[in-house]
Point group: C2
Chain length 204, copies 2
């Protein structure tokens, strides 16, 4: 990154910086809700997100991905920076069909824990093709339902999921076990292992 | 950008590459709707978006911005890359209030031409403060209503809008004239001047 974007966060330090930000600025709102909207999803720290993307790109450098897939809204930032460092296009599934999309689309339903309802995930067949090798990136891996929905879209398109990456995993919501059936590498930069009684506990 | 992200698009070439992509891949869907969802908003070309962000950052290097503000969803990619190259935080206004947001927020209504309805734009007071100098970035400048809504949010927060940047401007929808009242520099990387009768005509 040869820009004027403030102090550069190196790949090696990115994970450490991320963990420090979660512990310092994250808030436990109860019911497993982790508020990190000061640097991940509402206000974004672009330098940190770029470093997270670089680290995710490094971890998935060997999986032969041809495309990065995420879900709007908060997946866009980490997916974009990961795709940038892998030199791949990035597709974000829409939650409502824009008028620029063809009538026939790939659509699946995914229950959203934080929204308390089911959301649609929609991808145009123009941008997800047979034979594509798809790396799924999201801000959170929690119940795994959104990521599993993205995997269903990829499979409907005849493409293959080759990896799953998240900035933050909540290990106690079972997503990793749910996604294990896909048989692909799963990487999370920071793992929150316990949010009981107001705690925010990270794995080493 | 010292990454493996494919051939680097330099700042100087970014605008030319953007224009070529619009002419080659853009589709005129009628009613002023320009489909560029193969590289801007649904599938994103991260290298091109990074180059666009670098060019927008260059153009606004002198305005003294302290924050980049955009609206979800399709504004996130260009705002993030612009903010990255300016070394500033990026805030995206939400269109529905997530559970992580406080009860009291800044909210305004903006008519959406492409959606055919009014949308809410919501920013948490945690991330838009009195005295902030706000650079507004979006993928499109068309009617200007979304950007004007973002400007109202900034003003409600007691901050000052110092510039407006867009990747693509549709000059025939009057947005630039509407926003002129703000008295700030307005930059668009590519200007579509005519979409009548199936045409896509760009300014030089």
């Amino acid at each position: 990154m040869a820009s004027g974007a403030g102090p550069e966060v190196t790949t090696e330090a990115a994970v450490q910086v991320l963990k420090e930000r979660i512990l310092r600025e994250g808030r436990n709102l109860g019911h497993g809700i982790l508020k990190v909207d000061g640097f991940i999803n509402h206000q974004v720290d672009p330098g940190l997100m770029d470093a997270c993307g670089r680290e995710l790109a490094r971890r998935f450098a060997g999986v032969g991905a041809t495309k990065v897939l995420t879900a709007e809204i908060s997946g866009i930032a980490p997916a974009l920076t990961t795709a940038l460092h892998l030199g791949l296009p990035c597709v974000y599934a829409r939650k409502s069909r824009p008028i620029t999309m063809p009538d026939q689309v790939f659509l699946t339903l995914a229950p959203s824990h934080t929204k308390g309802r089911t959301v649609e995930l929609i991808v145009s067949p123009e941008y997800l093709s047979h034979g594509e090798r798809v790396l799924i990136i999201d801000d959170f891996l929690a119940t795994g339902q959104t990521i599993l929905g993205l995997a269903r879209l990829a499979e409907a398109a005849g493409s293959t999921v080759v990896g799953i990456g998240a900035v933050i995993e909540k290990t106690f919501e079972g997503g990793r076990a749910l996604l294990a059936r896909l048989g692909v590498p799963i990487e999370a930069l920071a793992q929150v292992t316990d949010m009981r009684a107001g705690r925010i506990v990270l794995a080493d």
